[in-house]
Amino acid sequence: MTGCCARILVVDDEPALVRLCADLLIEAGYQAHPAYGGQQALDRLEQERFDLLLLDLKMPGVDGLTVLRRAGELHPGVTAVVMTSYATKENIIDALRAGARDFLLKPFDPEDLLQAVGNVLAAR
């Protein structure tokens, strides 16, 4: 699958980060949709299908893991790249269990983001 058609939901509680990532992805030819926080992500997942979630694990309220699990239920086969600054093993392992295929450590470079997303989508 090429980057042009993939639908990506970018989820983070930091709005600036969501917008930046979305801009980078859109610039790279993806269809990036912002979700500001876990709840918004869930709401959108209820209505739409996405090919990939770019997801912050640590969010107030509904956290990334919850979103990831719900997405797995709603859309089997959905892939995810998780972002975290806290590379705690629980988070990574739990995310991997819940369906994440790769992770990004904050702060990351735009290239890191695009490579991870590209890899995951390519492997799908």
């Binding site: 930091e14 640590k58 806290y86 590379a87 990574i92 269990r97 790769d102």
Partner: protein, 1009 residues
Amino acid sequence: MKPFLFSLRFRLILLVLLAVLPALGLALYTGLEGRRQAAVEAQDNAVRLARLMARDQDRLVEGADQLLNALARLPAIRDRDPAACNALFADLLTQHGRYANFVASDPDGDVFCSGEPLSGPVNFADRAWFQQALATGDFVVGEYVIGRITGKALLVFAYPTLDGAGQVRAVVSAGLDLAWLDQLAAETQLPPGSTFTVVDRGGTVLARDPDPQQWVGQTLPAETLIQAMLARQGEGTVVTDGLDGVPRLYGFAPAQGGLYVSIGIPTRVAYAEANRTLAQHLLGLGLVAALALAAAWVGSEAFLLRRVRDLVGATQRLSAGDLGARTGLPYGVGELSQLARAFDGMAEALQQRESERARMEASLRASTERYSLLFDTMLDGLALHEIVCDESGQPCDYRFLEVNPAFEALTGLRAADVVGRTVLEALPGTEAHWIDTYGRVALTGESARFESYSAALGKHFEIVAYSPRQGQFATIMGDITDRKQAEEQLRQLKEFNEGIVQSTAEGIAVEDAEGYFTFVNPAAATVLGYTPEELVGRHWTDVIPPDQQPTVRAADERRMRGQADRYELELVRKDGTRFPVLVSGSPRFDTEEGRFAGTLAVFTDLSELKRLEEQFLQAQKMEAVGRLAGGVAHDFNNLLTVIHLSSRLLERQLRPEDPLGGHVQRIQDAGRRAANLTKQLLAFSRREIVEPKVLDLNDLIGELSKMLRRLLGEDVELLTALGEDLWPVYADPTQVEQVIVNLAVNARDAMPTGGTLTLETGNVVLDAAYAAHHLEVEPGEYVMLAVSDTGMGMNDEVKAHLFEPFFTTKEKGKGTGLGLSTVFGIVKQNGGHVWVYSEPGQGTSFKIYLPRVGKATQAASDRPTSGATSPLRGSETLLLVEDETEVRELVKNILTAQGYQVLVAQDGVEALQVAGEYKEPIHLLLTDVVMPRMSGRELADQLRARHPQVRVLYMSGYTDNAIVHHGVLEAGIAFLPKPLTEDRLLREVRAVLDATVRPSAGVEKEETP
């Protein structure tokens, strides 16, 4: 009868008779004498009677004399007037009845006058009395005649009447009627059977009573009596047979007129009194004798025989065995009483002796029974033996005489088997020393006591041997196993207690009431720097510094009231150093008087604890700070990401020559530095993702030293002292470099005027003791890295905060305050420990311990694998993906050694390539989680597409207990924490391969069968 002759009674009676006989003789004699006297008296009486009668006769005669004399003078007579005379005489007759007649006769004898009428002439001239009267002219008493007028027997009195011339004129006579005399005699009160006889001189009986008619008038001159009377011519007595042939006592007396009067009393009568007296005497005597005999009979019965019989009876009963036999006699002073008393006493004594004997016997019997019972039932084994000696008198054996059941039970020897036999017969193996010992006992009488253990019976015995008699010995054998065991237990308990006191790490000190030590245990002495001997006798103030003493005094006062308590204190050692202790002080009280006897102090050296406590507090603090830093870092990273991405986007849109490019560049630089800081914070909080590798610290230092020299500058000399054959460690090399750099920078800053920095490495084994004193340290093999400087050193205050983030002693702007906290975080994250040793002016030394890797370490060694039979072996094919070459080789070797087929790849891409070329099934993917180019997860997913049956085991540098504990199967994703240990690796591999449910993640549902 014969027994009677020998009977006491007979003898008594004989005795009485003998006693009575003289009395009887005397009485007889007295009786006879009495009789004789009575006879004399009777004779006297007879004579007296005769005399009396004779007097009566005399008075008769005198009366007749006077009467006749008077008559003769009468005129009528003289005148011979018959008429007058007759009348007179007749009248007289009536007056005097005793006379039969009065007569007056003329001298011729012719009666002229008569009282009784005359029937014819009567002449008395022939009469003797007449003739005599004529002859004598006086009064005459005639003889017995038969009156010629009256015809009666008469005694005639005659008196002649004389005329003036003296011529006889007449003769007056009076005839005394002898019948009257008889009557008179009859009237006389005479003893019965007596006779009264009057005889005249011619021996003619004039009067006789009784039977006068038979005898009166008879002349009995031949009669003895008459002869006696006539012969004696006076009074007298004679005993002779009377006329009637009856023997009589005759008393006789002459009366006037030639008459004799005799009174004959039958001797029977005369002696009646005497005889009676005699008879009475004899009778009395007989009676007395009879009484005496009766008394003797009865008395002997009463006073003697009964008692004697009683005595005899008692004796017989006694002899028959009746020991209760008593005479029953009253005790008095008499001999029999005494005898009875003596007998009773004897019987009593006998009985007492008997009863004593019986009692003794009973007692003996009881004693015997008791002994027997004791012997049979006593719990101690008892055996009696007799020693057997050889010719020289030396004990050579002994013989069992008697053994009790307990002996049998205790020794297992049967009485039937041993009694009568010698010990060498019964038990041939008996050692000589037993015989010697027992021989000594039996021969010398010295008892012996010893204890013996029978291994065969598993029992301890106490044996007492003594000699009841020469040549014998008895053994009392008590089972003292329990006691021995109790003693042993007691000893063990004592030892145990002693051991506790002696070996405990707690200091134990006992003080007396004055506060002097009476006991200290080794721990107490040692910790105080004394020997126990030095400390005993010292006062507590010697080990408690003055500023602490009020605490103790206050506690002492509470203790005196019985209150125990616990308080912290500082003690002073012999060398003057102080150390903290926790004292538990209990009062001791005199057990008898309840007086306060001092203190029992148990104290714990708190030095270690305090240090550990400080370490713990420090660790807690670091943990808290780390969490805080981690939290901050998260948000920082979000912001930094925004800054970073934004600046990159901005940069991208600027043309290279754009003057705003410098600003963007500075934003990016600051963002990077901030990210770096954040990373350090995360490292400190151990949340940085690490990528550990198997490292040789020496190599790392070698590579780093060039950079370090540059970093340190010219004033600081870098020395390295690298240990040989250094063990590998498993750590993120970048982090380790950072640690060294940070420490080097710190050291440089501590040596502003220069100095030496020494890097040192070495293999160390941290043992349990070390671990016990250091929090979080597991005993095991470590590689030590020491970074030491010769700088200014640190005080305790600085040391206490050394590793805290943002703690710095540097000038503002010169340090971040994160250098050492990063060091701390990294070391901890890699399973290591860091310690700092520093004194002001003495430099500082940081020592870092990192766990050895590459062989089974502590965790593995407590679960040893065992060669060929190990269930951890296998022959499956494994794909090992590890970018770190050394780790890869290590793991490969381990697995190959256990029989596995191991394919290797250094990253995900290569792995997929290897898997594609391999045609056989791949059973397990063993991959690192975090790898360049492709994450482990990626790889697993892609590999599964081609090898659906493959199972996956992830390896990771994150050591998380939660993961480990979750286990591999339930989690879906098998996870192997790094650092790896051989055992752990093999077990996890085996577990995943053997799992019946294929491990699968939630996202792999489609592959779940």
